[in-house]
Symmetry: C2
Subunit: 283 residues, 2 copies
Amino acid sequence: MSKDGWTQAPGEILREEGFRLDTVDPDGTPGYEGDKAAGDKELESRREVLGELQERLFAASRTGEAEDAVLLVLQAMDSAGKGGIVRHVVGGVDPQGVELAAFKAPTEEELAHDFLWRIEKRLPRPGFIGVFDRSHYEDVLIARVHGLADEAEIERRYDAIVDFERRIAASGIRVVKVMLHISRDEQRDRLMERLDRSDKHWKYNPGDVDERRRWDEYMAAYEMAIERTSTPETPWHVIPANHKWYARLAVQELLIDALEDIDPPWPKADFDVEAEKKRLAAS
Amino acid sequence: MSKDGWTQAPGEILREEGFRLDTVDPDGTPGYEGDKAAGDKELESRREVLGELQERLFAASRTGEAEDAVLLVLQAMDSAGKGGIVRHVVGGVDPQGVELAAFKAPTEEELAHDFLWRIEKRLPRPGFIGVFDRSHYEDVLIARVHGLADEAEIERRYDAIVDFERRIAASGIRVVKVMLHISRDEQRDRLMERLDRSDKHWKYNPGDVDERRRWDEYMAAYEMAIERTSTPETPWHVIPANHKWYARLAVQELLIDALEDIDPPWPKADFDVEAEKKRLAAS
């Protein structure tokens, strides 16, 4: 590992197959031996690396030389830090190269279609980093916990997700699936802070407590979903998120990994550079 | 003025009505007496102000308390720095609150509709800052220079734009129209740099030189468009842009002005805060 502080690549250590949620300590910082100060510094210094890779991805797609894209799928319980990832990690790259989609409760039109219909429409174009703030996984998470679909339908969806993600991966989209994992106590503290501060009230919803009461059911639904949909092409990463700085750093590295895997070249000029210099000078 | 360096509010000094382009020096830094170092520092320090205002705008719209949005319209000749504005000014706020639209040559479907059809679809929702990288103004700029529409049609479009912008302004969208104004020599230098650096070749297009040869026609088309579509509700701002740092700083202030004009309040809780604290503590 060339990056300060990491003792093991986050892409390896956080990858989940055959998943047991209780094996992940939400307080942990697996693979990283630095503290918050070191982590914040590293986040800052790696921003430039991520930014250049993103620019190369964007550039390569402009000239039709590359069909690749990256899709970051963010799933988590309320207050786990999805917004902070978007702001502090994704916010570090050129907004022109990012396509963000936040999936809320489906509309009537969306419900009339299969659950992947609205997802397909928001897939990133070549050259872009797509970010899903919640995703098709809600259809096997909240849907399971609240019984919005029966067992057979949930089973069908797991298989449909695997097929769907295999197809989009084959089409050139690197899918980076992330669950931000906080503890139940940490969530209480974070929700309490939203109640304590009047400039945070807008982020609080009484329904958050109702969902929180089903914590164990959600964890079981996550465990099942991760177990059933982690594949070698599109593995899940469960990221301990009680330490926000660690979660941000880990997601940043996962994005860098995905882009380095693509390794987009700077496009070659499809014009005669010297001739253009003469034309330009004369203009 | 409370901001260091500004001697006059950019919202006043850069506003154009009855416009003569030759009165604007592309090398100028009107209203600002600091140098590049001071300007860069100010850009950084004002980022937090812009960020908080944007968060308040977003928050107010979440709870249905506000219908307001901001729309930044960016127009300029090639290489004038639209991308840098997006990256360094817009990139300073939370990506979740930004809706970016880059308008390229219209598709066949778009051409089959009136020119404002594709624009309407990309207007920002309440709570968002929309950014148009090029816009409906191309339909009276490139369209005039290349004769893609006849004189009567261009005339119709000026009026249509004024009506359209009046309507969206009345619906709650603060429209901030910006022309980044560089000199012809500065453009040559910037395009030459793209030819000199292999990691910039992808940004160069031989067609850029063809457009450049019509510089005076473009300037006349801008002058006419600005003259015809600057209104008290939706004025144009012509920003000298040979100094990138100045242009970024000026656009940042215009966005801050627009948001301060809205002055979105932190939403009041629509629930009983103390009761929720008890529910949460017990959960």
